[in-house]
């Protein structure tokens, strides 16, 4: 009584179904993200700059702080790639170290504003009522001033320096992150799994952190990537105005300010730093665009 081959196959089949790896959302996101040319370019730019910042001492050809008055305002050449500034400091090395300053300020301030903004947005959406009203009016007030002016006020009134710039940028970034999180959390709250969580007797904190936050997070990642671009621009702006990173710490905005006076004779001083700022902002913007497309197909190519 030979068994019918078809019945033999069947159990194997069901087994192989259960063996299929769990569908990974992040893998799909990665595939879409890296499949887009501009996103890939953005990612490569950002990674290159991050590596540049980490390995700055090995990449820089000179000490970015060392002045050399005999070699001041040197033209680009073999000794100095991009020439030297008015006190003989090597422009290329200062740009390399400037990536460190920019990224350090960018990552910490976006991280801080992200953490505070998300916590506030989550609380506003979850509790609703007067908590929602107070937090939303607070963000309304913060967003009533053009972002750069808010940051300028805080940084300027306290006085410059890296910590102050981080503080000011972090404060300025709270409101947008909070809004974004609040919108996300409000729509996620409607889902059945949140109701299920409540039925299981989850506490408020656990509901927020386990049920809502992970589902609201992906779009916020996009917001934070885009935020990096904005923060880098804002930091450069502050340093350019002279209220940001204080000399002699190398910062791209400050270098543009220094180089501005030598446009006629040494244009590379200002132009190289402008190019560096643009490169970093472009990288973050493109990576953010790609991430958005990958995470939410509905928003493909949107703002």
């Amino acid at each position: 009584m030979a068994e019918n081959p078809e019945t033999k196959v069947k159990p194997v089949d069901t087994e192989s179904v259960s063996v299929i790896p769990r569908h990974s959302e992040w893998r799909r996101v990665a595939r879409v993200f890296f499949g887009r040319r501009l996103a890939l370019i953005g990612f490569i730019i950002v990674m290159t700059l991050v590596l540049t910042a980490i390995f700055a001492p090995w990449i820089a050809t000179h000490d970015p702080y060392k002045t050399d008055l005999r070699n001041k305002l040197a033209k680009p050449g073999r000794e100095h790639f991009l020439g030297t500034d008015a006190t003989g400091r090597d422009t290329f090395s200062r740009i390399v170290y400037g990536a460190r300053t920019s990224l350090l300020i960018g990552i910490t301030s976006v991280g801080i504003s992200g953490a505070i903004g998300m916590a506030m947005g989550l609380a506003a959406a979850y509790f609703g009522g007067w908590v929602f009203a107070i937090i939303m009016r607070f963000t309304d007030a913060l967003m009533a001033l053009p972002g750069i002016i808010l940051v300028l006020l805080i940084a300027g009134l306290v006085g410059g320096g890296i910590e102050i710039v981080i503080f000011a940028l972090a404060f300025g970034g709270i409101a947008p992150q909070c809004r974004l999180m609040c919108g996300q959390a409000l729509s996620i709250k409607q889902n059945d799994y949140v109701l299920a969580g409540r039925a299981m007797g989850m506490g408020n904190l656990r509901m927020m952190l386990v049920q809502i936050f992970p589902n609201a997070f992906p779009p916020l990642l996009v917001g934070m990537t885009m935020g990096m671009g904005m923060v880098v621009l804002a930091e450069a702006g502050l340093s350019y105005l002279g209220i940001g990173v204080m000399p002699p710490t190398p910062s791209w905005g400050g270098m543009v300010n220094n180089g501005q006076g030598y446009l006629l004779t040494n244009p590379e001083l200002a132009l190289a730093s402008i190019a560096a700022i643009m490169l970093m902002v472009f990288g973050f913007n493109m990576a953010g665009d790609g991430l958005r497309d990958a995470i939410d197909p509905k928003l493909r190519g949107a703002f």
Binding site: A141, A144, I148, G237, L263
Partner: protein
């Protein structure tokens, strides 16, 4: 509709009060002493010689010895009487100062806003209609560059190109258009380009994506099926619907221009409101900062209000659901 406008107006005033309160708190709680600047003019030697009695008298004169809440109340009641106070550093009436500076910023900003929005929207429409062609690629690249380049960086780039290399335009300065229109225009070409480029890039990107979204809608397919002309479909069906999200960012675009004015007025040496604010921040001139915040915050809140009303008027769905 009237009830809606009134509700938004009241909310706007509350938010404006909140902004000034936050800034007020910040200025009073953070370190830094405007009186030292006022009395010494950055002269450390003199600061040390200032007697504490004189200092106390000064504190009293500007009301800085009062509790913060009282100071805020006093400031607010003066504002309501139309008195913006006197600058600690410049020793001038702030209302006069602002009446002199603001029109310059507004003049440049208005032109930049019109150019930025109209060109940005036009470019976005062209991109969406000619998606994937070289025109789309070039315009998208330019738009991405526009939102990437720092305002001051673009300014320096333009100065380098048009003033130093080509010698076509003056590097900086301000002349009233009523005095010498030609010179004024020549001086303002570069600042206006700088100020409009960021908004233009953002607007182009947004319009492009909104148009692409709208183009996929059923009513557009129906319009094509009815045999309408392309121009009618693009303008009446697509653009009109795509405008709804575009209008919501117009308020933000005005804020962006006010923010950008801080930089262009520094790069091009224009004595406008942005420059006044930056200097006031440098000098810890609380009175000017406070008045500037009121003005800028008021402008942004008011333009957002107009945007909301425009939005509710364009899209009845929002009006009836309350629209947030």
């Amino acid at each position: 509709m009237t009830a809606y406008i009134i509700r938004r107006l009241i909310m706007g005033v509350i938010i404006l009060l909140l902004v000034t309160m936050i800034v007020f708190l910040f200025m009073r709680l953070l370190p830094g002493d405007p009186l030292i600047v006022y009395m010494s003019g950055f002269d450390i030697q003199r600061v040390n010689r200032i007697g504490s009695e004189q200092y106390q008298a000064m504190l009293h004169q500007f009301g800085l010895d009062q509790p913060i809440a009282v100071q805020y109340y006093q400031w607010l009641s003066k504002i309501l009487q139309g008195d913006l106070g006197e600058s600690i550093k410049l020793r001038e009436n702030i209302a006069t100062l602002m009446a002199e500076r603001m029109p310059r910023t507004a003049y440049i900003g208005f032109i930049a806003f019109i150019i930025g929005t109209s060109l940005g929207i036009a470019a976005g429409v062209v991109c969406a209609l000619r998606r994937g062609t070289w025109m789309d690629n070039v315009a998208t690249l330019l738009a991405n560059t526009g939102i990437t380049i720092p305002v001051f960086g673009l300014g320096i780039l333009l100065i380098y190109l048009f003033s130093y290399k080509l010698g076509w335009l003056p590097t900086s300065g301000w002349t009233s258009p009523f005095e010498d229109f030609w010179l004024s225009t020549k001086q303002l070409i570069m600042p206006i380009i700088c100020l409009s480029v960021g908004g233009m890039g953002g607007m182009c990107r947004l319009t492009r994506s909104c148009m692409l979204e709208v183009m996929r809608q059923d009513y557009v397919r129906t319009a094509w099926a009815k045999g309408l002309r392309e121009r009618v479909i693009v303008v009446r069906h697509q653009l009109k619907n795509a405008m709804i999200p575009i209008i919501t960012v117009l308020g933000g675009a005005i804020g962006g221009i006010l923010g950008g004015s801080v930089f262009i007025e520094t790069v091009f040496a224009i004595p406008g409101m942005g420059r006044l604010m930056t200097n006031a921040v440098f000098d810890q001139d609380y009175q000017i900062v406070q008045a500037g915040v009121l003005l800028f915050g008021g402008i942004v809140i008011f333009s957002n209000l107009v945007v909301d009303i425009l939005w509710a008027w364009l899209d009845p769905r929002i009006r009836y659901t309350g629209g947030g």
